[in-house]
Symmetry: C2
């Protein structure tokens, strides 16, 4: 029915899936890569970097913001976005927590 049965999962599972979901679109990967290349935060020259309309970009930024991966700050007429330093490593650690559980089995 297009709707996930959220009540069946733990908070940790829902949170991890949420982070991955936020990362699960190439435009959002491209946005993050662009942010990571900058020394600092950026204003919205993103429309020149990513081939999407301004509203589409704005919503992708919104999803990354909702997931806590980036933070935005208003500076006068424009808006800057940065990687969220506090969250970034926390998310990395959580995601590695999943991957590190793997040990080559006896299959």
């Amino acid at each position: 029915m297009g709707v996930t049965k959220t009540e069946a999962y733990t908070e940790a599972q829902l949170q991890m899936a949420g982070w991955y979901k936020a990362l699960g679109h190439p435009a959002r990967i491209a946005i993050l890569e662009h942010l990571l290349e900058q020394d600092c935060c950026i204003c919205q020259d993103l429309t020149e970097v990513i081939d999407l309309s301004q509203p589409s970009l704005s919503r992708h930024l919104g999803e990354l913001r909702d997931a806590g991966l980036i933070v935005g700050s208003t500076a006068g007429n424009s808006r800057s976005y940065c990687i969220n330093p506090a969250r970034w490593r926390e998310v990395q650690a959580a995601l590695n927590g999943l991957f590190n559980r793997f040990r080559d089995g006896t299959c």
Copy 2:
């Protein structure tokens, strides 16, 4: 329009987003966690672990399989699924490749 403009992105971006998308559902996280807990591969006792119908589970397994995160093998009447070790490490490496690009900026 519900359809991603794939032509605007690099292969690497599309591949990475595809992997994360496969991980972006709590049922699939739960499936992977269950696989990781086992010493070895599992048959489909998953319906007892995850509160979904058998066809729904089968399709989630299919998505993980399509993303290459797990591999399935037929053993007589039943089917075993395992983590795909090569892909598993590849995805983890890609993930850390993304996250490690972050350096605290001068913001």
